[in-house]
Amino acid sequence: MTLKHIGWLLLGLAGAVAWGVLALHRGETISAAWVVLAAVGTYLIAYRFYSRFLAERVLGVNDRRATPAERLTNGRDFVPTSRWVLFGHHFAAIAGAGPLVGPVLAAQFGYLPGTIWLVFGVVLGGAVQDFIILFGSMRRDGKSLGQMAKEETGPVTGLLAMVAVLAIMVILLAVLALVVVNALKDSPWGVFTILCTLPIAILMGFWMKIWRPGRTLEASLAGVLLLLLALVGGRHVAESATLAPYFTYSGLTIAYGMIGYGFIASVLPVWMLLCPRDYLSTFMKIGTILLLALGILLVLPPLKLPAVTPFIDGTGPVFAGKLFPFAFITIACGAISGFHALVASGTTPKMLMRESDARLIGYGGMLMESFVAVMALCAAALLDPGIYFAINAPLATLGGNVHSAAEVIRGWGFVVTPEQIDGLAASVGEQSLLGRTGGAPSLAVGMAHIFSSAFGQGLMALWYHFAIMFEALFILTTVDTGTRVGRFMLQELAGQIWRPLGRTSWYPSTVLASALVVGGWGYFLVQGVLDPLGGINSLWPLFGISNQLLASVALCVGTTLIIKSGKARYAWVTLLPLAWLLAATLTAGWQKVFAGDPRLGFLAHATQTAAQVASGALDASRGARLIFNDRLDAVVTMAFMVVTVLVLVASAREWVLILTRRKPAKAEESPFVETAYAG
């Protein structure tokens, strides 16, 4: 045994000890250090051994084979890029609000279930998916997931995958927008800062295109500085009796504002608003994530949330449903995220310099995202449980004021006083933190705790709003880039029906498609804002289910790629996570539609609402709208499930045909060309 082996052995032992401590710990608090150690130890072992097995045995990575970046180099999208730079590029593309919000919501089950799923889900599922799709796309000149599905399993599957992606986009944008609404409602400080990002972005847009063409970095630096000024300025706005009312809006007003913004951003030229905001949010994102990591590692805060809460029985206030299956769909990004399959088959495969780099970037990049999610979980778990539930339970459940909230939360077995809730809100410069469901505010409180203990006390409010601003900023960037991508997809689909609709440069088509996409997510957003249960309760599971079902589609495609390359004996690497994901997600989908508990099942809730209308407890028109929305959510959930099962059946048919030798095992890869790079 060499020295190197001893190092890996020790690392494995350290990780195992950390897991043991986490599992056996009984007591008030536990240091976040154990969570970090267990996670990082597992990641490193999995990267060293499992991803190497995937690269060498399953995929057959070959560094003598020229990558698309080398063969098709064009100095624009096909650019050979050194691996650590590309790692940064890819990570910036995959990390978003998902890994921050999901784990915070799932903290209602305690910190342990989320941690276990994040760490083992990623090493066996999410990172495998990202790596294999990235590799498959690289072997096919950077083809998208939809194109690969079409070529490997047939045109119907390709079309289904495309429709599924568009539908997921709509749900995703709605739920992320709802997170922002819940963070910004009645918060003049937050609204002011976010509104300032618009003129700042437009200024940057003109800077980069007209005044100093191409000087993107200097414009971004100026943008970041202006944004920080706006953040500081927000405090004065919030404290001023004359200015604050101009920036205080209800959730509904903010929702309509975001819908209007999404439409405008989709039809304006990209250089003016969308692209500069993208740059701004990317730098803020990278900076803040580094800051969060630094803060957590410096402070190693004690986690006050129990390892497991009583709410694993499905009675939790944040969202309904038992630990299985709901922990596994609430946390999508960070463990496994189908959306990554779109990014991993987008810009990144066109930039890989060597085939072996796909391992670091695909597998390693996803491990990094999982680590971000683990940190978000720690930031939520360091809060007093009472505070966590005061922020995340719906306002209606909490009874509307701090006294009733403290009473309700005491009933759940967690101690919190009205003074504590008020004191916390005041210390972060808000009127109230009650019922701000959605993850962003509790994460911001957690981050503010960490930052102010790591980098100096007394700036709690500033840190809180910094965290809110950063989350809202990049969620809004997802909203505008997502709307635009959705618009292009819709135009592509519509072009198959009537050709002129497919022309992205034809203005009426652009306006129509933008309006449809914005109208789609806007409808779900408004539904969520008006939902008496808080919206997150119905929309986040819908998003989780759709994202995990997309991951199932990606794993089906991945399995097909493996079997077609003649490696059927290794197909378990994708079939195993696929089986788990389908079990969890189809169960969750079924329960969301058919469960008898009106908090959980859409149809049961519709029945309950109808009864309330009949007994006169609820206004008839409002009741009719709620019932319609419940049925719509049920139909959408069923549609996702049906599409996934169809893709699974089509793929399985293909697998059987190949395995029974009725069809040759031949992957549609680009032909081999020897690389010109020196070994």
């Binding site: 624009r76 650019v79 990004c333």
Partner: protein, 73 residues
């Protein structure tokens, strides 16, 4: 953190490392790299017309956001 048009000129070590950090940041954020594009044209298409920095910027930005999702949730 600027000077994307002047890469390749032999300069002091400090200038070089500033340029290296600059192109790293540009790549991470998905920004165009004009200097690298000029280098590409010089090497592979010596006869092709050289776009101005503004033309290259417009073309790059337009095509980047038409090509599927660039950002995840």
């Amino acid at each position: 953190m600027q000077g994307s048009g002047e890469a390749g000129r032999p300069g002091s070590r400090a200038v070089n490392s500033v340029q290296r950090i600059g192109s790293l940041l540009r790549c991470i954020a998905g920004m165009p790299d004009y200097a690298a594009h000029l280098e590409h044209l010089r090497r592979y298409h010596p006869n092709r017309a050289i776009p101005t920095e503004r033309e290259y910027y417009e073309e790059f930005v337009r095509s980047r956001y038409e090509d599927g999702p660039t950002r995840c949730c």
